[in-house]
């Protein structure tokens, strides 16, 4: 499905957690990596972002987790136009987002437990308030016996699950995962996917960027397909197009 350009702001549905209004993005003075994106993600939804390498999947996620700014258009997050927010307001917004980075970015000098507890420390909680929750979460992702281990000593799948534990420990309202099954075998990919489904069942909005078509096919979840920075298709239950685009 092709998307026609549209710069008009549409009234936001009350339950939209993310809304893109005619969003384009470029790095520096380079070419546009995302062009005129218009879509909205309802709260509690589960979406895949698919497309070939270089299609703009990671850039789209970066806009949502506030690691990049659009060069045109507006990104609305939790009902706020992120462009209009003061930089001092962004950290609080980021604390409501969980991210599984493509390259995981675990801190090698910290234990698995410290890595997983990191967002709670940042949010200012006392260790006594969360240490049992962190232990429980690590056990839930299958790292109950590896809590003291440092990331370099963990296997690929363990690192992936640790990154997921860190992303969800603060009970984020939205979880973004960039190629979360990129470095694991099929069995581990399915286990990780089941984790996401379970989190979604508990109310977390999930957005997964992947080029794993097998996983997408098996999951039967809405898909937003990108090619050359443009939305080329919204899957059978894809993200709701903006009202004025219909």
């Amino acid at each position: 499905m092709s998307r026609k350009p549209n710069n008009a702001a549409a009234p936001e549905a009350a339950d939209d957690i993310v809304r893109f209004d005619a969003v384009s993005m470029r790095y520096g003075r380079g070419p546009e990596v995302l062009s005129d994106l218009n879509f909205a993600l309802p709260r509690g939804s589960f979406h895949f972002v698919t497309g070939p390498s270089g299609a703009g999947k990671s850039s789209l996620l970066k806009l949502i987790y506030l690691a990049a700014k659009p060069s045109a258009g507006a990104v609305h997050l939790f009902g706020e136009d992120t462009q209009r927010l003061h930089p001092s307001q962004l950290p609080k917004l980021r604390q409501r987002i969980g991210v599984v980075f493509q390259d995981l970015i675990l801190l090698d000098h910290l234990s698995a437990f410290d890595n997983a507890a990191l967002p709670l420390r940042i949010a200012g909680h006392k260790p006594s308030e969360y240490r049992n929750d962190v232990a429980e979460l690590l056990a839930w992702v299958g790292l109950g016996k590896r809590m003291q281990a440092q990331p370099p000593t963990l296997a690929g799948g363990e690192k992936q699950r640790l990154a997921i534990a860190r992303a969800v420990v603060n009970r984020p309202e939205i979880l973004l995962a960039d190629e979360p099954t990129g470095n694991v075998d099929q069995e581990m990919a399915l286990r990780i996917f089941r984790l996401f489904v379970e989190l979604n069942r508990l109310g977390t909005t999930i957005v997964i960027a992947t080029h794993d078509q097998d996983l997408v096919a098996r999951a039967n979840k809405p898909v937003l397909n990108l090619e050359h920075g443009r939305i080329t298709a919204l899957g059978p239950q894809g993200p709701r197009p903006r009202a004025d685009d219909e």
């Binding site: 506030l66 950290p91 609080k92 970015i105 437990f113 990191l118 260790p127 240490r131 003291q148």
Partner: protein
Amino acid sequence: MSEPFDVARWRPAPFLPERDARDPALIFVVAVLCFLACLTALGVIAADRAAGGWANQLTGEATVIVRARGGETPDAAAARAAEVLAGVQGVAEARALEREKAYELVRPWLGDSADLEDLPVPRLVAVTLEREQPATADQLNAALSAQGLDTVVDDHSIWIKDIRRAAGVVRWTGSGVFLLIALAAAAVVAFATRAGLAARKDVVEVLHLTGAEDGYIAALFQLRFARIAAVSGALGAAAAAALGATLRLIGGGEGITPALPIAWLDLLAVLPCPLIAAAVAAVAARLTATALIRTL
């Protein structure tokens, strides 16, 4: 075999690794800069004291040149001038110097063969002034003229002015050198912070994207480099104090030379060095870290 993990005993680990392979080099460089800064401070204090001492000595003395008039002999004129001067308020003592003293002063120009007894060589009167309210050159001149004496009064004011000017130059130069060294230390710390941030980009990125405020991240680096600078400052200050103490000991009661007298109390001047180094490092690290985080 390692002990099983006890969740109840877990304590959060520091976000930044406690040790970095580059720390020893940084500590050495900052310690050397602090050592140089402390030495500069000690040098300025000692030079200031020396200049003050010289000025004080000269302020308390005056020299009067007396020329004989009429049938009066030079020795009689000098004795009379000393007597007159002793009676002036603000003069503690006036003493006519022996004729040999006067001859010694002119002999380099006239040679040993000259018969100085035949020449009207002026005599000298050494005057010691009272410390509290010393007599001025004008007062001395007035008293001597009133008694018909042909004299020239030298209260050393030209020398005192020169010494005070020299002391000022030393003080300002020392302060300038001190400031330059402090700036160099700040630049080193800023450079190290930048390198530290680059090496710990993963920490900065994760903290930033999980919602840490810029100030919180900057504070981690600020604290780390302030601590390193404080340790370096303490090492540099201790080395400078040790060198100062050595100079004081081997130089005797007046220090290494009377020109640079170091007192034991002067060594206390190095005490603020660790604090100043930590403050400079904290500011440099804060500014550098904040600027870099904003580029993320």
